[in-house]
């Protein structure tokens, strides 16, 4: 089961995902991200600390989010990736494309810069 929730912060929104992001659940993640990018949310931070499995549909969904925020000069950042999830990004060489931070605080610190 997948749970996707959002929390407003001063400079944007944090999306917290809990569960496996796969072919069947990633549309749920997409919906939340696209809702936010449609509203041109300036900064979207995605908390992946409770995601132990993500397949390429999950990765593709986040790439789509990144593409959308790029259109209006927003930011999409990821934090809290478990080793297995990080590996999926590394394999597709997307660890270089995304801004990835170890935890929420570090991600927020980067926003302040």
């Amino acid at each position: 089961m997948l749970d996707v929730s959002t929390r407003d912060i001063k400079k944007g929104v944090i999306i917290s995902i809990t569960g496996d992001v796969d072919l069947y659940s990633s549309p749920e993640v997409r919906k939340v991200i696209i809702d936010l990018t449609d509203k041109k949310t300036k900064n979207i931070l995605v908390d992946l600390s409770s995601v132990s499995y993500m397949d390429s549909s999950g990765v593709a969904t986040l790439v789509e989010g990144l593409q959308q925020v790029g259109k209006y000069g927003g930011k999409l950042m990821l934090f809290g990736l478990e080793a297995a999830v990080k590996e999926v990004f590394e394999l597709s060489r997307l660890d270089k494309v995304f801004e990835i931070y170890p935890d929420e605080q570090t991600a927020l610190d980067h926003l302040k810069k």
């Binding site: 072919l23 549909s57 593709a60």
Partner: protein, 263 residues
């Protein structure tokens, strides 16, 4: 850690008409390994593979995938199992009327509710993985043999399978291109911890990729073990295969004549 058998073949027997093709095959395939099924043409290895992906039902025996017997499954149950299984066919089996990208995207369009935009990105990720970034809009006929195999592999990977089956992945390729495919198979195993079953008779490929080898001869498994163990095997058929010796053909004149003139 105890090895988990993700596929268990139990006493598999199958016939084509009256001819027995598989004669009680028993085989365990462990999660995360590359198992090579080796054997001469006509030994039953492609038939075994067809059973493993549910294309054929055996006359007797069981095939358990993650503990569930696929030989008794109905079409719907089998379809669910197949979603986590990728298959690279011998001739890559791409649709010539579609572009490479459309071929790779096909399983996702058929089996998921993903948005087209997501599928497109996934397709590009897979093509990049097999070294075909930028070939999305090419037609299969515009690709070389090795590139077709890579495209077939990208399609087999479309649904992020747990198990990948490859039927003669290096057949018909020159040694350098074949080596490239072998390296790609190794990369997939290491990167995705995928369980990979390769059917082949190419020895060079076997020693490059296999964690374990099962040798099939006339419908029976005559050897199971590592690459080192097979080289030390004293089994005459295994030895003949490894040493590439031709069959000793001493024709029985009477029998031959009879076969030519029988009415």
């Amino acid at each position: 850690m105890e090895k988990e058998a993700i596929i268990q073949v139990r006493d598999l027997v199958t016939y084509y008409g009256n001819r027995q093709i598989l004669k009680g095959v028993n085989l365990d395939i462990y999660r995360g390994e590359i198992l090579v099924i080796l054997g001469r043409s006509g030994c039953g290895k492609s038939t075994l593979l067809r059973h493993l992906i549910g294309l054929m039902k055996p006359s007797r025996g069981q095939i358990l995938i993650k503990g569930r017997d696929i030989t008794t499954m109905n079409e719907d149950e089998m379809r669910e199992i197949l979603k986590k299984i990728g298959m690279l066919f011998q001739g890559a089996a791409l649709f010539n009327s579609m572009t490479v990208g459309e071929n790779v995207a096909l399983p996702l369009r058929e089996h998921t509710q993903l948005e087209d935009s997501t599928i497109q990105i996934m397709t590009r990720i897979k093509l990049d993985l097999v070294g075909l970034a930028g070939f999305e809009n090419f037609k299969p006929s515009q690709l070389s043999g090795g590139m077709k195999k890579r495209a077939g592999l990208a399609r087999a990977l479309a649904m992020d399978p747990e198990i990948l089956f490859c039927d003669e992945p290096s057949a018909g390729l020159d040694p350098v291109v074949a080596m490239g495919i072998d390296q790609l198979i190794l990369k997939l195993k290491n990167a995705f911890k995928m369980t990979i079953v390769v059917v082949t008779h190419e020895l060079a490929s076997v020693f490059t990729i296999a964690d374990r080898i099962a040798m099939l001869h006339e419908g029976e498994i005559i050897f199971q073990g590592t690459a080192e163990e097979i080289q030390n095997s004293k089994h005459p058929i295994v030895q003949q295969f490894l040493n590439r010796e031709a069959d000793d053909v001493e024709p029985d004149r009477e029998k031959y004549l009879h076969s030519l003139v029988k009415s």
